[in-house]
């Protein structure tokens, strides 16, 4: 037997014809062209054979017993699904209507009798090209589908990883409300809130340029820096500087993070606000007015460490007053006809509020109403935080990092800061870190932070800088106090503060005593006067009064420039 296979790839071809001589001729032609031939004698057999042997092409007689060719073609096309299985009708039919019905049931072509091998071969190669094209399109589509599914899986996974790394901090606190879509991290928005060891909280709203992976990658270190440094007692400015440094290192040029950070001090009723590139935020006052918190800085990740400024604005908030922050997804969200929401509409929306607490709902509803019917491209993140008495937040769980239980229990250290270093360096996170290594003491980090921070601040501000505490009696004096402090720190070139820490475990192993000694180069003051401020509900001296309530004993030397506080803690 000779073959004239030519250039076509061999196919498995089903021939369905009730006429034996016709089958023999087709079989001979196709076999010699190199194809594998399977045969059926009627329509029912053709469908059955097709399903069992999956031929790649079908030659079908129209008139056959046991189901005609039209019905067989319909079933074969249905069974083939999305695979392209060409059906060529074998016919001596010539009227247009009969030919049309062959095409209607899914027939792809006709072969008329007498069969001609050249024509048949040409038809088969044409269909083979079509099949190949169809197949590569299908494969391409399947690959794209698979890639999409994989991307969605990876995003979900990344989201889970992110959630594990960045716990939600105190976003669930009673004084916080926020709007953020669950996948917003992949649209570049981040929202963090964490209680500070000294009380109060840090809040962070960020909006990375770009979407997807670069934004998500930047969010991870942001979260780590924010939660880690806040828990360790770092100030807003330290945290911002570190975030800026980190982002500048990891993000490619042109990528940055518009952000606002707030240090909410519940005890003094103040908020320190830093806004770098976010839309104007607002403080909503009781009298219905609002203060604007405009962006004063470039976004994070642009400026070098030397040129970066972490200077914050200080605002006082009365109890029940709110602060409202949003990413530019709010301002830039568009309506169905493409109009942008804009700052004017945002202000108009919050002006509909009936009290400081109503601004959030007003803004949220206005943005959603405005963008109805639009699939939003940028994500909308809105954060609302209220000034509340510290006692109202007792339910907020401090993040307690796992205790290795292997740290030192009995130790003492002396840490002296002198001259310019005293003006430039904040030793509190470092000292707190040392204390937190004591097994079990982590649970009291708030107390330890407050004691060390207040005693150090007193030594620096009242001792070395000789700032009169009476200045802080009025709200206007409060800000004068802080500007005076900045001025004096800038000039400081001589002076020292010496901090001593000593820890002694209790005999029963449940807790211990931390002795904090702070001395300074200042002339001292009358300790009696300071101690009496516990009796007043005055702003000044609150810190020392608090130290006195936390500690078993607080003693000054007779000149008032050395204080010793004894803190007794018990585990569990």
């Amino acid at each position: 037997m000779t073959t004239d296979a030519g250039s076509t790839t061999p196919l498995r071809i089903l021939i369905a014809d009730d006429n034996q001589t016709d089958r023999m001729i087709l079989n001979a032609i196709l076999t010699r062209q190199g194809h594998e031939v399977i045969m059926a004698e009627d329509g029912a057999q053709a469908v059955d054979t097709f399903e069992r042997q999956q031929p790649q092409m079908v030659l079908l007689d129209v008139l056959m017993p046991n189901m005609d060719g039209l019905e067989a073609a319909r079933r074969i096309k249905a069974a083939a699904g999305e695979d392209l299985v060409p059906i060529i009708f074998l016919t001596s039919l010539s009227d247009a209507e009969s030919l049309a019905s062959c095409l209607e049931v899914g027939g792809d072509d006709f072969l008329s009798k007498p069969y001609n091998r050249v024509i048949l071969r040409a038809k088969i190669s044409a269909f083979q090209r079509m099949r190949d094209l169809h197949q590569s399109l299908q494969q391409e589509r399947d690959r794209t589908d698979q890639r999409n599914r994989q991307m969605m899986r990876e995003q979900a996974l990344a989201r889970r990883v992110f959630d594990n790394i960045a716990d939600r901090g105190c976003l669930g606190a009673d004084n916080i409300r926020f709007e953020a879509s669950p996948m917003s991290i992949f649209n570049g928005d981040v929202l963090f809130a964490s209680p500070k060891p000294s009380g109060g909280m840090h809040l962070f709203v960020g909006d990375f340029t770009g979407h997807g992976l670069p934004a998500a990658i930047g969010a991870l270190p942001m979260s780590e820096i924010f939660y880690g440094m806040t828990a360790k007692g770092f100030a807003v400015s330290d945290i911002l500087r570190e975030m800026n440094r980190k982002l500048r290192n990891i993000l490619p040029t042109g990528f940055f993070c518009c952000a606002a950070m707030v240090d909410l001090n519940l005890r003094s009723g103040h908020a320190e606000v830093w806004n770098g590139g976010l839309p104007t935020a607002w403080i909503l006052r009781h009298d219905g007015s609002q203060d604007e918190l405009r962006s004063r800085h470039l976004p994070l990740g642009i400026l070098s460490a030397e040129r970066f400024s972490a200077a914050c604005e200080r605002h006082s908030l009365a109890l029940g007053e709110h602060m409202l922050l949003a990413t530019d997804g709010v301002i830039e969200s568009s309506s169905v006809d493409g109009t942008m929401f804009g700052e004017e509409r945002a202000v108009a929306a919050i002006n509909q509020r009936s009290g400081p607490q109503g601004g959030f709902e007003c803004l949220r509803e206005a943005v959603h109403r405005f963008g109805e019917g639009v699939v939003s491209e940028d994500d909308i993140t809105i954060l609302d935080v209220a000034m509340v008495p510290e006692s109202a937040l007792s339910t907020v769980e401090h993040e307690v990092l796992p205790d290795t239980g292997a740290g030192p229990e009995q130790w003492r250290l002396q840490y002296d800061l002198e001259d310019r270093t005293l003006a430039q360096f904040n030793p509190i996170p470092l000292l707190l870190h040392v204390c937190m290594d004591v097994p079990g003491l982590r649970l009291c980090s708030g107390d330890v932070y407050t004691i060390i921070a207040e005693l150090f601040t007193n030594a620096l501000e009242h001792g070395v800088l000789r700032l009169p505490s009476g200045l802080k009696d009025s709200p206007s004096g409060f800000s004068r106090y802080y500007s005076e402090r900045e001025r004096l720190l800038g000039q400081l070139d001589r002076g020292w503060v010496s901090i001593g820490l000593a820890h002694q475990p209790h005999d029963d192993g449940a807790g211990g005593t931390l002795l904090v000694t702070v001395a300074d180069s200042g002339p001292g003051f009358d300790p009696g006067e300071t101690a009496s401020s516990l009796d007043h509900e005055r702003l000044s001296g609150r810190g020392i009064a608090l130290v006195q309530t936390l500690c078993h004993d607080v003693r000054w030397n007779h000149t008032g420039n050395c204080v010793e506080a004894e803190y007794i803690w018990r585990a569990g």
């Binding site: 037997m1 034996q20 001589t21 016709d22 023999m24 001979a28 008139l63 001596s92 007498p114 069969y115």
Partner: protein
Amino acid sequence: MSEHQHIDHDALAELRDVMEDEFVILVNTFLQDADDRLEQLRAGAASEDAEEVRKMAHSFKGSCINIGAPELADRCRTAEQRGRDGDLSDIDACISAIEAELGAVRQALAHFRNQ
């Protein structure tokens, strides 16, 4: 009628080329098949089943075209048309004409096969 009109020599030469060793089997199969179909045509005519006559004649016609027997195919086409029209009044004459032509084709094929 001359032998040349009963069978298409070019078509048959092409078929012999395609079928090679199986050409003889093909011809024998065709002739055997033709006898059966003639039988079925008669049965359809006897029971006055026009649809059966149409189908049988159509199928018979198809194999005649393929084997290269144009005159026989033409006579089948006439019978098929009668079946389609539902007019079996002269169907016996049509079948007799097919039978006569089949005899001639058989002889011509035997001659061709032995060449």
